[in-house]
């Protein structure tokens, strides 16, 4: 390790910036860029009928066309505009709800803590996909209903993480000092405990982002998420499964999901190395 460290030092590359982390960051940046700008790209309209039905990949349609003669590449790229914002909303909401309840439970203890943690235990007792399916089916199929279902599935994870952090930080000496110096309870929590609690949540949120994208696509594939003609990845793969012999219909969206999930996984490793020195 010593030799390789000195070699790396000459390039003055930060330790966390490994090839996978860089690749993950690039993939995530690419898809974020696509999601933000794809409506101005000079490509076909994702819901317009262009050319022949079920045409194989060619120079004009790099990933071919689907059963309604829509351009698969354009639909794949536009899919980022559905999956990524929804995943972002799901993660942010789940973190907001979970971190708040977890912090309250961990800080106050007693009845509030027990109530929150029992709810967490019960929610985490469900296999995620079954709970998400049940909630979405009950709300009625739709992308935003699927998003609500996923928030319900994911918040307990962050509640647990936050509670554990708050419990650990609460015992530290600087908190004791703050309390002894007369800091009020809210001030102790917000100024002295919470700022030290975010690392595990940030690490997990990055890793989970890809899993959320995967679950949205799964729900859409089952028919509970996006509905036609929305160019959503899971929905497109479901259309591809019906036109099985035309492999290119499902190829683009599948690769898109795979790259996003891998990208966030790699990026999450980097975030962990930065925030959690113990893992190095």
């Amino acid at each position: 390790m010593a030799e390789s460290a000195s070699i790396h030092a000459t390039f003055s590359r930060p330790r966390w910036l490994t090839a996978p982390v860089a690749a993950g960051a690039l993939i995530v940046l690419f898809w974020a860029g696509v999601a933000l700008t794809v409506q101005w790209w000079p490509i076909d309209d994702p819901v317009a009928f262009v050319g022949k039905r079920l045409a194989a990949p060619s120079e004009t349609h790099w990933l071919g066309t689907d059963a309604l003669s829509r351009d698969v590449l354009s639909r794949t790229l536009h899919g980022a505009q559905h999956s990524l914002p929804i995943a972002l909303v799901v993660i942010l909401s789940a973190v907001a709800i979970g971190a708040t309840l977890g912090a309250i439970g961990g800080f106050l203890g007693g009845l509030a803590d027990s109530a929150v943690m029992r709810l967490v235990d019960i929610t985490l007792s469900f296999p995620p996909i079954l709970l998400a399916m049940a909630v979405t089916a009950s709300l009625g199929p739709g992308l935003w209903h699927a998003a609500i279902a996923m928030i319900i599935v994911w918040w307990p994870i962050y509640a647990r993480l936050m509670r554990a952090q708050v419990l650990a930080v609460r015992e530290r000496e600087h908190v004791e000092a703050a309390v002894a110096a007369g800091a009020s309870a809210p001030r102790t929590l917000f100024a002295h405990i919470l700022p030290l609690c975010w690392s595990p949540i940030l690490i997990n949120a990055t890793m989970d982002f890809g899993q959320v994208v995967l679950l949205i696509a799964s729900l859409s594939f089952i028919g509970l998420g996006a509905s036609p003609p929305t160019p959503e990845w899971g929905q497109m793969i479901s259309e591809g499964a019906q036109k099985f012999y035309q492999w290119w219909i499902a190829f683009g969206p599948g690769m898109a999901i795979l790259s996003v999930v891998l990208g966030f996984n790699f990026l999450g490793d980097g975030v962990r190395d930065i925030l959690d020195p113990r893992t190095q």
Binding site: S125, F126, L130, A137, G210, F221, I237, I257
Partner: protein, 337 residues
């Protein structure tokens, strides 16, 4: 430790009740009217049909009443009646259990065989190319949407190469072997029908590989971590000093001990298995509990959705309990918090 186990056991019924209550609440605070899926939209302006259907399915009672009736029925093993199959949900699930179990066992076999091999190789070649390859291969498995990888593999091995059969547990014209266990591979052997046996195995390969690849990641990571722990211990050094060959050290000395903590893998990979089973059954037209759940959700068959969710939750709860207790026995260092 026994106090820990007893405490976990006491919590079980409460958690089960929580699962049932939440599943009930979710499926009853619904925007969609379950009546539509019972009697169809055309009958919705016929008050006589509506009243009859409400009485038949207990929808004329208040919500707390419905809840108490449901829980009471559950205690007698009655999971309600599916709106779609018009059959008891419990019976539906029981009939589909063997197909799912057969798939899951086959997938665990594939996943642990390759996963353990990858884990051992990754630990042995730590931080070298093989380690990185093993990690990437496993990571891709857990990042792939199984409903897509299944589709691609079907396209390659069934449609293009023609070496493996298409979806389903058997060829469409084949008859299922006489029922003994519900596992076609075992039942066909019991019946002495080798052709059906070969057919059921070949039908299992693709779904088992797809699902096995999805759980391989967690298995190989656990084995790798556990192997690294063991390889650093003195008795490994002693074995090497005595001149034991490297494969012998790895398999006979290290792996045997490294596998003990990873025996609880089944528990850890259960969540992946369920997710994977639901989706791969859907793509492989596998007549198991996963495709039942998908059909129930697609057709808004609320009693079936509720039944599947409760059974899935109970199974998940039980696996976690067994895993945690087994883990506590295996690793005495574990704290009983």
């Amino acid at each position: 430790m026994y106090r820990y186990i007893i405490r976990r056991l006491i919590a079980m019924p409460l958690l089960l009740l929580g699962i049932v209550s939440i599943a009930f609440l979710i499926t009853h605070f619904t925007k969609g009217d379950p009546l539509i899926s019972i009697i169809g939209e055309r009958q919705m302006d016929n008050p006589i049909v509506i009243a009859a259907a409400k009485a038949r399915w207990g929808l004329d009672r208040s919500l707390p009443e419905q809840y108490l009736i449901y829980v009471g029925n559950l205690l007698t093993g009655d999971l309600g009646t599916s709106l779609r199959t018009k059959q008891g949900v419990g019976l539906d699930l029981l009939q589909r259990l063997p197909a799912t179990l057969e798939l899951v066992v086959a997938a665990m076999l594939v996943g642990s065989l390759i996963g353990v091999t990858l884990g051992v190789a990754a630990a042995h070649y730590r931080d070298r190319a093989a380690d990185h390859f093993a990690r990437l291969f496993a990571l891709i498995g857990s990042s792939l949407p199984v409903f897509w990888s299944g589709l691609i593999l079907l396209f390659i091995f069934w449609y293009t190469l023609g070496v493996l059969p298409g979806p389903g547990r058997l060829d469409t014209r084949s008859m299922a072997p006489p029922y003994v266990t519900g596992f076609y591979t075992i039942d066909s052997l019991v019946a002495g029908d080798l052709r059906i046996f070969a057919e059921s195995i070949s039908h299992l390969i693709l779904p088992a590989c797809v699902l096995g690849w999805a759980v391989m990641g967690i298995i190989s990571r656990l084995v790798r971590a556990s192997m690294l722990d063991v390889l650093n211990q003195d008795y490994i050094l002693a074995a090497r000093a005595k001149g034991a060959s490297e494969p012998r050290v790895l398999v006979n000395h290290a792996l045997r001990n490294a596998l003990i903590p990873t025996l609880t893998i089944v528990g850890f990979s259960f969540a992946y298995l369920i997710t994977g089973a639901v989706l791969s059954e859907a793509i492989f037209s596998w007549p198991g509990m996963g495709s039942y759940a998908v059909d129930a959700a697609r057709n808004l068959d609320y009693p079936a959705i509720m039944g599947v969710t409760i059974v899935g939750g109970a199974a998940f709860l039980l696996t976690n309990l067994v895993t945690d207790i087994a883990y506590a026995f295996v690793d005495p260092r574990i704290r009983f918090g």
